[in-house]
Each structure stands twice: as C-alpha cells, then as structure tokens.
Symmetry: D2
Subunit: 367 residues, 4 copies
C-alpha cells in the first residue's frame, strides 16, 4: 500500500532509506508566493542533526538540503517542492551482522513478516533518518503557518525520571542545553541521568510537550477529521512514540466534570475565550482559539550495547549487543520532528478550512 | 471539507444529527460474500444504547438498524451497505435554551466559530448519537475480522479513581456489570463512586483498554500509515477522548531500553514471538503477531447539572445548569465505540496489506 | 475497494440498488449556509425521472427526495447531507429470469466475474437508478455553483444519425421536446427515428453536449488533477458513456497548430480572453475564463426486445429477448446526469482552488 | 491543492520543471520483490527522449534515470522508489522573452491566473518534460503488470489526415518508423505530411490507440471507480489530449443496440467470452476479459514558428513567432506516455481488486 504521504491539501511524500543514495520529500500543495530558500529548510534540519551533543550519535551527517523544484526567483510556485538530502556518511559494514537476527524493539522482524525481506542496513526505511523528509516538509509548513501568526514550540518535558518544573519555564533555555529542556536545572539532572544510562550501556525514554499559539477558533472537523485526531495520527506516525495526549490528557480520566470543564468568558478584546485550558485548545475536534497543548511519550532507544536475548531468522536463540553509533535517548532530536508533524497537520487543516462557509467562498470568488 | 468518512479500502461515511430524521452510515468496500443481517448490527448497537443502567441516560432509544442496500440473499454483495437508524425519541424542547449560550466542555462555541451557526438541538452533529454510525459500521468490520480469526475486546479499566485489578480479570464479567469492568470488585466500587458523582450533580472520566488478538504479523505500514498511528486517529476521533497509548504507553517514557525492549523467542509452534509485550503488539508501525493492547482516556461528561459559569453568544457572562438526560460517565457506553473504531481500522489495513508482496499478487491472479 | 464516492473536498457517496429499499447519497463537504430544500433536489430528480415521454420507460417512479440530515432552518450546516429516495415501484418478478444468463451489453457477467454473484434484480447496483444519487448530489453542487455565477447547460446533440444544427440553438427548446434537443427541427426528426427503433425492437445511441459558463480563469490543477481530466472521469463514470472530448476534441487531431490555437486578446472590460475557443475553455488543465464545452458519447441502450445470442452462466448458448420497461435511448435522461457530474466536479475544484496563493490565505485568515 | 499524485494503492507523485534541477517521481505502493534496475526504467525513458527523429526536437537530453531508494539487492523492497532525472541540457536564455506574453495554446495565461506568476522557463511545470516522471513510474507499473501476464501496446493511429490501415497492422513496425505507426505505408505518408507542416512553420495533431491484453475479467469498480473512468482521467491528464474513447467510442453514438451489443459465447477453453468487442473490453466499468482498446486525440503542438496574434501580460496585442526547439507533432513521443498512464491505472486497480471477495481474503490470510 502507498503509505508514504501525509496530508490531503498540503501534502508531503517522503522516501529514502538510511543507507541508500539519499532521503527526500516532495511537498505538494504549498501555496504559491511563499518565500523559501534552502537555508530556511536547513535551519530545521540542523536541529535534528546528530553529532551535536554527548547524547547524540557522534556520526557526522552534514544533511544538506537541496531544493530541486517548485521554487522560482525565491518563492514557491504552487507546484511540488522536491527536497533532497544525500546520504554521505553511511558505513554499511557496521550493519552487516544484523541482517541475520532480529533486534529487540526494532522493526526488523515486522519488516520481514510484511515484505518477506528487508534492507537491513541501518534500519533501512525504519531508520530515524526517515524523519529528515518530515522535518524538511515541516520547515515549509512552519514558514507558511508563521505567515498566519501561528507559532509551534516543542521541548523535552521529561527524560527518564527527570521532569521539568514548568514554573522555571524559559523558552530561550530550550535551545541552550543539549536535552532541549525549558528548565535549566532539570536539564542538568537529565544530563547526569543520561550519562549513567550510557555507562550502563542502556538507554531511556521521555516526553515531549508541544504548544501551538495563534490558531484561530474553528480549525478542524467535527467527526473523523478532528484536529486532535489528526495530530494524534501525525505524532504517532513518528517511530518510538507510544502515547499521545492533549490538554489534561490521561489526567482528565481521573477528574470530574466540574474540575475539567473550562468556563467560557469574554477576553480582553471582547472576543470569547476560556478561563482555563484543560481541553488543550480543542473542543469537539475544532480549535477553540486557546493554545493547543499536547504531549508525546517516546520509548527508550531500542539500540543498546548491553547484552540482550533474541533470535536469528530461523528462530535460533542468541544473545546480542547492538554496536554502532546510537543515541541513548531519542527525545531531544525528536523535538523538531514533533514540531514538524504538528506544522504539517495544521497547515493542511488551515487550508481545508477555507471552504467551510458559503459566505467566505462568495467573498473569495467575487473579488 | 468532507470529513465524514473513515478508511480507504474498507471505508465508512457517517451522517446525522441528534435531532434530525435519523443517523446513518454507508459502509463501502466490504468484500462480497459476508453473511450479514440486521440482527448482526443490532447486537452492536444495543451495547451503546442508553437507558440500560442507572449510569446511562434514561432516554428510551430503540435505535433499530435498517439495512437499505448492499445485502442480497443474506450476504454482502460488495456494493455499499447503507444502514439507517431513525431518531425516534428526540425532544427538541429540552434543548431550546442552549441555543443562546455556550456550554462548557462542549463544541457549541467551536461549531459557531467554524460554521457561523449550528444545529443546537441535542448537540447536533457533535452529539454522542453520532457514534451510532461508527458502531453500525464497526459491527460489519468486526464480522469480517472474526472470519479471519481476529477478536477485539474492550472494557473499562478505570472510572475516576477506581482502577481494575487485572489479576482479577474476567472476560465474562465485562457484560455483567453496568460499568463494563472485567473486575467485579472494582465495578462495585465504581458504581458507588458514580452514585456520589450523580448526587453532587457532577460527572467523571475513565480509561478504556482494548485487546486485539489474532492479528498476524505484518499488518500496518512503516511510515505514515503505521497501524498504531491509524488506531490513534481512529480512537481520538471519538468525542471526549483526550489520550491514547499503546503497550506501555506513557510508562515507556520512564523506562530504560533494557526494561522496555521485548526479547524475541521461538514460540510453541516454532514461530517467532516475543517473551514480553511492552510494545503492545506493534513494532515500527507493523503488527508483530502478539496481542495489540491500547488504552484511551475519556474526559468526564461535560453536561452536568451543577451550576457553571459561561457566556452567551454575545459574550455576556451567565451561570448555567445543564438539564436534561445525561450520563454521569461516557466510558461504559464508549467501550463498544472503541471496539468499533479499532475494527474499522484493522479491517481497512488487513485489506490494504494484501498487495504487499509480488509473490502474493502473482498467486492471487494465477489461480 | 471502496469506490462509491466522488470528489475530495465537496464529496458524494452514493448507495443503493434498483430493487433494494432505496437509493441515496451522502453529500459531504458542502459549505455551511447554503439555502437548501427538498424541492431544490426534486427539481433535478424530476428531470431524470422515467415515464415522462414516449421514449422513456413507462414505469411510474415517484422518486421523492427526503433530506435526512445536514440542513437546519433551511440552510446547510456544513455537516453531511443525507438524501434518501425510496424504491417504490419495483417489480422483482420481471427480472427473475435474467438471473440465469448474461445480457449482452450489460454488466451481469462482469459483476459475477468480480464479486462471484450479483443482485440480478433490475441490474442491481449497475442499474440506471444508480444515477439518482448523482443527480441529488449534483443538485446541491449546482445550487452552490449558481451562487458563484456558474451555470451548466447540457442537451442532446445527436441521436443516432440525427444531429442538431447549432445555428438553430434555442436554450428554451431543450426542455420543450422529449429528446432534450436545442433544435426543434432536429428533435422532430429524432422522435421519428426513435419510433422506428422501437418498432424494430431496437435502440440507439447519441451525444450529449455540455456548456459551462461563468467559471473564472485559474480553476484546475496543472498535472494529474487537470479540470478536464476530472471532468473526463466524472462523465466516464456514467454507465453507457463510451467517449468524452473537450473543445474541438477528436477533431483537433486533424487540425494544424495554426487552426487549433486560440489567439489571446483583450476583452471588453480589459480582461484577457481568447478570440476563439477551440480549447473548450481549458488550457493546461486550468480554466481560461471562456465557456467550458465538452461532449459525451452514449452507447445505445443494451436492453432490447429483439432476439440476441448469449450464454447462460455455465456457458450454454441461448437466444434471449430482453423484456420489461426500457428506454430506446439513454441520452435524454442522461442530460441531467451529465450536468450533475459536471457540477460535482466543478464544485470540488472551486473549493480546492481557494488555497492556491499565499496572499489569498493571508487575506482569509486576517479578516 | 496537492495534485501531483496519481493512484491510490500503487501511487506515483511527480515533481519538477523544465528548467529546474531535475524531474522526478516517487513510486509508492509497489509490491516488494519485483526485480528492478535503472536500465528497466531507462528503456522506457528512451522511447520518449527527444532528438531521435527529424520530427522531434533536436535537443540532446540524455535523461538518465537514477534510482535513489526502494530497491535493495536488485529488488523492490515495498518502500517508496524515488527516481531522479537531472535536467542537463536546459538553455534558459531561449525562453527569456516569453515571460512577457501569453503563448497561444499554452498554459502561460492560466498559470498566471491561478498562481499569480509562473516559472516561464520552457513551460515550467506544464512542459512536456513533466511526463518523464509518468514514464519512469509507468515503467515500474508495466514491469509489475507483465509479471501478471498483461501487456500494453500503444501506437500512432492517425497523424493529421493520415490514418493507418489496420489490415496492415504490424507490431514490429511500430518501433521501426519515427512516427510509431504500425502500418509502414501510412508511416511514409505521415512523414511526408510532417515535412510539409515543418516547412509551413506549422504543426499537426493525431490519435494514439492503445491495446491491453491479458487483463482478467473483474477488474474495476461499478460506480465512480470504473476502469474506463480511471483510464479516461489518466489519459486526459496528459497535456494536449482533447478526447478519449473506448471500444467503438464516439461511433457507438450512431449505432443501434443490435449493432453495438456484443454477444457472449463460450471460448476455446470453456471460459465465457464475447463474439465481438465493440465494448472495448469493459462492461459496466469492469473488465470483461477481452482486450481493452482505447484511443486518445492529441491536439497539434501549440508552439509554432509561424506568426500568431496574442497579448502581453497587460493586454497589449502583439504578434509572436515561437522560436526554439519544438516537435511539429506530439503524438509519437506521446505513445509511451499513454502506455505509462494506462499501466499506472491498471496496476492500481489490479491491487485494489484483491480484497473484493471474502473467500479470497480468507484464503490469503489462512495460508
């Protein structure tokens, strides 16, 4: 099945394996007239690039984005934008051994079960490098959204047992520490914890939180294409995500109606708003004008050097120790992927929303 | 935007408002030859019908399913199956007042923000009755899946602070108590808690857990159409759901790789399986042959009789008390909706999977 | 495969068989605020209703449209509009015999080949009654388009050997004669020809032409979603259509570039237009502001009373004479179906077009 | 709107402009295990390459296909296949002048009307080079189909006034003459006619016919996703196509039912077949097991050196003479594009068909 595209009006199609010629994305449906350069995309890609901290793999991946189509004289033309990132630092010999067995926590076995065989080099299509296409596409979506006054900010909320204190939240801090936490003290502790994990040849998980501001009320559809449902799919399509929640999320299950309901009130400019935001900015699948807040749980990196039991393709039990260059945690590099998937979802739904009312359509075509 | 369909190969389109002529679904893409009767659908609908316990609204909704097309001589023909449930017990006068203000926790405001006005009677399209179409469609999907050896079981895991003890799990118990818990002792406590909520004119939330057995390894797609991503969207498209997690879910964020990874091993029949199932039956977006286990967090019913602050359409603050017939909790009636959405997702992905390997296609067309 | 829907933003899903409980359509994605009544739909349905002329089957099909959802206080709400037409005059006994053999020119054999069996009563899903859902949906699309100044007019251009003289074109004449020709003299001749066909227990084909005015330049997409490509699919999805052409159509293959190219010129209001319209209003898949003109070739009605050779399901040769109530020609009743499919296509593409330019999106969201 | 993909299960997404960095396609949904090399794709691309005959532009475009992903150890992996063809011989200076005016018969004006501006170099996205992506994708689809016994052959049927005599049909002849006609005598005449056109600084149109053999009965859907409707869209999405017909096509409109109906009969191996094939291999939108035969009308190349009237962007009238390297006819190079689009359509519908019957699905999953 064709399953490599995301979105319907603003759509991306990604391709590429860890150890093939490259990784890429085709962004289709981007409106004409958006200023776009390779640097705009590179800024996003650089945030997911490895080799920038002691907790990310020391691979040197330049990951340079090339725009091959869809931009003319510095602006998008409305036709598909093809973006290519060549694979340059792949070392296939590192991975030759894993062809014969199934790594715990990886998609090796399920790929074989589905397709009959797999490109085993570096995880192939299920490698973390697959997210390059998402981030390049997300960069374009983010630029579009920022033209509409929408900003998306994600950060690490927890790493293993270490949780940020939101009273110490600092937006600037997010890009200052290698774990992308908005709380410098928590970041310190998280770094300590990660060093222990690495020493133990182990890894750990964490939670990313994402806040989206500037979304007008009325975005999203009331039944299957709920804005939160599409965000859920978008975020869950990122490898390693095991949970998604919005607003109070799982906590809401333990609350009462009186505790969880947000009272509507008149805002400072006479507009209608809410006194609290337990809902996380979405009611009945449609944005309510308050900030959209969601969280994603990432599992620990499955590739660890500590010995683990598993089987060969023929079922023979063996003990393996995954060598190579692996992050002890996925979360900090996942932050920009979360932002990208949120941007892609929102860009698509903002465009889809334009034909909702007859009066808007009449206005549009009468100009 | 057209957002009332779900699925791509096995697809449903739902329609209908709480107080219109009826609610319905068109099931398109169901394979030809599946035995199907109105009773098959009714069995599912009866599980979501209100008026069956002290904790569900005392409305008497017969909710009789009529099959209008797509079945001939007791079997599906491969053409669309139209199912109609007439609205019969709607009392529009109950709802006339709410036209003027925005109920906290409901989609009243967001519908107005999106469409400019709304069918305010009983919540209109965002009413819980909208799930009738999902359940009728889910009944067809479940019948198809059971022909392939797949069974889906959902149940209430928590209600407010009350959580089932899974050591006391009993499948039969689920349908015996009014809260659909698999643990009789917890069910008792939950009933007590719900009575307190009702006395306080309040409501509460809860968590539904769902287990799917019999899914072969290899179902789902590795990138955007991950099986868990599609389940996440399916479940999040149910009104009131605020969180979704699979396997260890949010707990995985606090685990280490050694704790969370599942070792592969040889199963009793020589097949490859896993020693544990922290992953919840899906690796890299593709089923691994183990049971699929996920959870959905439902917020408390927003309609409560206790007084709440809100605003009128023009922003004037008022205090309201939502009258009418409302469940103090959504969860027990949501159980069959969760099963239905899981069945629809899985039926679609099982069909999508058939064209994955050249050898299967050659076999199929050479017969 | 789910194949019963058409469109992506403005979308219809049709269902129903000739002899089931009814025929229906769900219109999803219609903007909120469009005034819509059952009478609006009925007017379109009445144009395809049989029993109105000597050349249409004498069946008395009331074909009353009921709107079951999506309209509140006389206006569309933006949620799906479910329209039901009950089957009331079906006589299953007429069709019992045809269960055993394959009618020439019909889909009996191909349905069996695809699904393994078929609802043989009156053609089942491949009956002409299937178009009721298209016409009901097309009525909604046409209403929307007329709000935008777009009018669609189809008429019979040829019947068998009889062709309209376009110099005698009269819009009013189309609804005055039973063959829907805009040329009264040709209509007379066509009626004579049809009487001969009926006497000979035979049938004949014809060509429908359709003109769409008021479409602004810029609608349609340059590659796969060309406006003409989508019209081609829409029209070819009508049973019995064997050819589709736009502008000069097949004639263009015999022309030179100098003959076929349309010179651009300045129009009366300074706008850019074309001196001629060989292109039929579309260049590079995108509307150019001139009238869109296309033609569809309909094959002769396959159901004829004259004896024909065919086979039983087991291959035994037999001679059959198709009894029952059949039109000697499909074309006049097909005229409104052509208009409907054109309206559905155009409504969808008009909505899709709204997100084409960044400046429009900025304007839309800044209001 | 995203409109650069085609197909739903076997899907291509194309990108690229005439004078950008390159042209490409992502083929998604191709089954795993299909042997595929760059040479396989090159063979198809070479058939549409210019510079091979006196009637195609003398540009030297190497058009070398590179496979960037989705193939491992010589076989498709089931993940997206990205194919890149770099633009190497583009001369932007040739096109600088046309930025200021609208070429007759081209999409210059409609692009401006839609997007507000355009990449005017060599036609940008509406250039004939856009078909490179289709042909590369079509090569993959054709390889898949040939594994299922399906062969697609297209050829030039007419060029201007010259029409092939089908009694002289020779499959080998198609690739022997520069106009791709299966009749050597007609090819000679067509070459003479083309030379005259070139001398007159003019161009001409023609008709391509396509025959598909080996398609089993039962492929296609009965309503909107008719096999012929999808072929119509596929072929009409090729720039310059103005007409599409299947079987008798427009001729059917002048026939009677007795003339046009095909009698079913028992075939040599006891299978059911038809005595004639007026239907062109499709009944009710579903293949009937006979060869599928369709025709496409191509308009004359709009780029001609003879002087033509048109306007500048501001409406000022001018006379232009299109210089540069242009084919006097599109048809011979369009032959492989027609085959490609037919292959893409059919591959998609063959895969979609696999889930049609419950019994097949049960067989598939019980193995």
């Amino acid at each position: 099945m064709a399953g490599s595209d995301f979105g319907s009006i603003f759509k991306i199609t990604t391709w590429g394996e860890s150890h093939g010629a490259g990784i890429g994305v085709v962004v289709d449906g981007c409106p004409a007239g958006l200023p776009l350069s390779q640097e705009d995309i590179q800024r996003f890609l650089d945030r997911r690039r490895p080799g920038q901290s002691p907790f990310s793999t020391p691979r040197k991946e330049a990951d340079r984005a090339q725009i091959l189509s869809g931009v003319f004289e510095g602006k998008t033309t409305g036709t598909p934008i093809s973006i290519l990132v060549k694979n340059e630092n792949q070392q296939s010999r590192d991975y030759s051994e894993i062809a014969s067995y199934y790594r715990p926590g990886h998609a090796d076995y399920t790929f074989d079960a589905k397709y009959g065989f797999r490109d085993y080099r570096g995880g192939g299509r299920s490698s973390g490098r697959e997210t390059i296409g998402r981030v390049a596409g997300g960069a374009v979506a983010s630029l579009l959204l920022s033209r509409l006054g929408i900003e998306i900010t994600a950060y690490t909320k927890t790493i293993g047992p270490v949780c940020c204190d939101m009273d110490r939240f600092s937006q600037e801090e997010i890009s200052r520490n290698p774990v992308c936490m908005p709380d410098a003290a928590a970041a310190k502790k998280a770094e300590e914890y990660l060093k222990e994990c690495m020493k133990a040849q182990n890894s750990c998980g964490g939670i990313v939180e994402c806040v989206i501001t500037g979304v007008p009320a009325g975005i999203g559809d009331p039944v299957f294409e709920k804005l939160d449902a599409n965000l859920a799919k978008a975020i869950f399509s990122i490898g390693a995500v095991k949970g998604f929640e919005i607003g109070e999320g799982f906590e809401a299950a333990a609350l009462t109606g009186l505790e969880n309901n947000d009272s509507f009130c008149a805002g400072p400019f006479g507009q209608i708003t809410k006194e609290t935001n337990h809902a996380g900015g979405i009611l009945g699948g449609i944005s309510d004008g308050c900030p959209i807040i969601f969280r994603a749980a990432f599992k620990p990196t499955p590739s660890i050097a500590a010995p683990q039991k598993t089987v060969k393709k023929d079922g023979t039990p063996i003990t393996v120790s995954i060598k190579g260059r692996h992050d002890p945690i996925i979360v900090p590099r996942g932050v920009v992927v979360v932002e990208s998937m949120a941007a892609l979802t929102l860009a698509d739904m903002m465009l889809a929303n334009m034909g909702t009312r007859l009066s808007s359509i009449e206005d549009f075509y009468r100009r």
